[in-house]
């Protein structure tokens, strides 16, 4: 389905439905001189929350900026609602962006900042729209304080409010939960899920797996500028769970503990180290349960048990390898 970017979606009496992608990325690459930021990305997005996962420097921000029209792909195409997004201001009324950069106008209050966005969107009642958006992110109480005096979490919420103020069809958020406290994180994740339920297309970048799990089932995993995995979160998670993981055990009497653990189902390898031992296993949970028992039987002191492959980067590298 191709739609005119000039006409608001409501006026066309239609709603973007699942079968036609709202965002289409076809073989998009972006490079700066010799440096390739993203390479040959192809995917589509429809209504719902999609999480763009990847370690720092993977190309998430470049991808989001191409989707928002801030970067022109060096190769390939990025289309939103059927139209190329770069240098297409009429289309921007259907997009909301929360950039990663912390820069705001420090001399404006949150209310002025969001009202400015509403005015630039030519909304009929900018004040009311700003109040709605500020209410959504729970900033009404502090809306008349200057942004320069806001905490990082409050600035994040102000950025989200300016992106929501014109009720866009597509919402692109670059690490929107950074700086927010746990309660605010939950609240914002709830907001994004609500927007998804309203038929909006929400793309959120994150490097935290837990956030992806809470916000939606669809994920795009990007590593070193390439799409490493795409699809249902749970399928990817189970793929991750099946891989061998290394667990470092700091203890005394490591040899005796190693003898007791070698027969444990799922154990693939053992290595004695200066601090204790490192166990390679495909059933990490069973190992975590067995270690204290083994230490007790061996009469050893147990100082720590720590997974060595739990960081996202190593998970992503495993996905690329697989």
């Amino acid at each position: 389905m191709t739609v005119s970017p000039e006409a608001p979606l409501e006026e066309r009496g239609t709603r973007i439905v699942d079968e036609s992608p709202v965002v289409e990325v076809e073989h998009a690459s972006k490079w700066y001189g010799d440096k390739v930021a993203v390479s040959d990305l192809s995917f589509t997005l429809g209504p719902g929350v999609t999480t763009l996962l990847g370690p720092n420097g993977a190309g998430k921000t470049t991808t989001l900026r191409m989707l928002a029209g801030l970067l022109r792909p060096s190769q390939g195409s990025v289309r939103v609602l059927g139209h190329p997004i770069f240098d297409n201001p009429p289309l921007y009324r259907h997009i909301g962006l929360v950039p990663e950069q912390d820069a705001l106008y420090p001399f404006l209050t949150a209310r002025q900042f969001v009202e400015l966005a509403a005015r630039l969107e030519h909304l009929p009642d900018p004040g009311a729209a700003a109040q709605r958006a500020l209410g959504t992110v729970d900033l009404l109480d502090v809306q008349d304080r200057k942004l320069g005096g806001y905490s990082k979490g409050m600035r994040q919420r102000a950025k989200i409010a300016q992106a929501l103020v014109h009720d866009p069809q597509v919402l692109i958020l670059d690490e929107p939960l950074s700086g927010a406290d746990p309660a605010q994180r939950l609240e914002l994740m709830h907001v994004f899920t609500e927007l998804s339920n309203q038929g909006k297309t929400v793309l959120i970048s994150s490097h935290i797996l837990y956030e992806a799990e809470r916000m939606g089932t669809r994920v795009l995993v990007i590593v070193e500028g390439k799409l490493a995995a795409e699809g249902d979160y749970h399928a990817i998670r189970s793929l991750m769970d099946d891989r061998p993981r290394r667990v470092a055990i700091a203890c005394t009497n490591a040899r005796e503990i190693a003898r007791l653990l070698i027969g444990l189902e799922g154990t693939c390898g053992l290595e004695i180290t200066d601090q204790g031992l490192v166990v390679q296993t495909v059933t990490a949970l069973d190992l975590y349960r067995a270690v204290p028992r083994a230490a007790q039987q061996a009469g050893a002191h147990l100082y720590s048990v720590e997974g060595l492959d739990e960081d996202l980067e190593s998970v992503f590298r495993y996905l690329v390898g697989s």
Partner: protein, 243 residues
Amino acid sequence: MIPVIGLTLRALGRGRRLLVVGALLLVPGLLMLTFLGSGSNGDSGTFGLQLFDRLVLPVLLPLTALIFATSALGNEREDGSLPYLTLRPVSRIVLVWAKLIAATIVTAGLVVASLLLMYLVGLTGAWGGSTLSSALVASALGCFAYCALFLGLGLVAPRRGLIVGLVYVLTWEGTAALFSPALATFSIRRYAEGVLDSGLSADQVSQIRPVDLGGTASVVVLCVFVAVCTGFTTWWLRRLQLP
């Protein structure tokens, strides 16, 4: 356009920049005061005209424009807040004109205030109405043209724009164009002077330069220059990528 003008005026009107430029623009008034206090036998009207023609127009005015106009778009590009304006359904030419108008309002406001201060200090009896008004119009149009140039410079080179502009003002507008009529043809000050001349008598013109530069042609050239500069800045903004 109005929200962007308002935003830019607030951004430009804060910080030490305004104080520093304001202090700089007190210089013509102080020099006028010094001239009067020295008991010189010279004509204060001619001194004021020379002060305006050789200090305000070629140096202070472009420096003021440089400081404010390079910041008008350049600061937002540099600190990453530009997407809050460019990712809106607002055409690029509207954004550029809004920024230009705001930068011109601040620059012209300060330069005109400096001129009026100089006038009130020692020129109320020496300058006629047409002299004052032509100086005001020349200031305003000069600010408009310099701001159009430096707005684009700030967008193209947000980090080095100020330095490049400073070198341009001091070496070209303030020096080369001052000594060579041929080089002056390619300077903005040449046409701002032309606007000034249109309000002066032949005697007054002869006190500051050999020939009357022609007011109408100067206004046309300045307007065309502004149109070309804003066209370029709009084109650049359209193709600008923000990594």
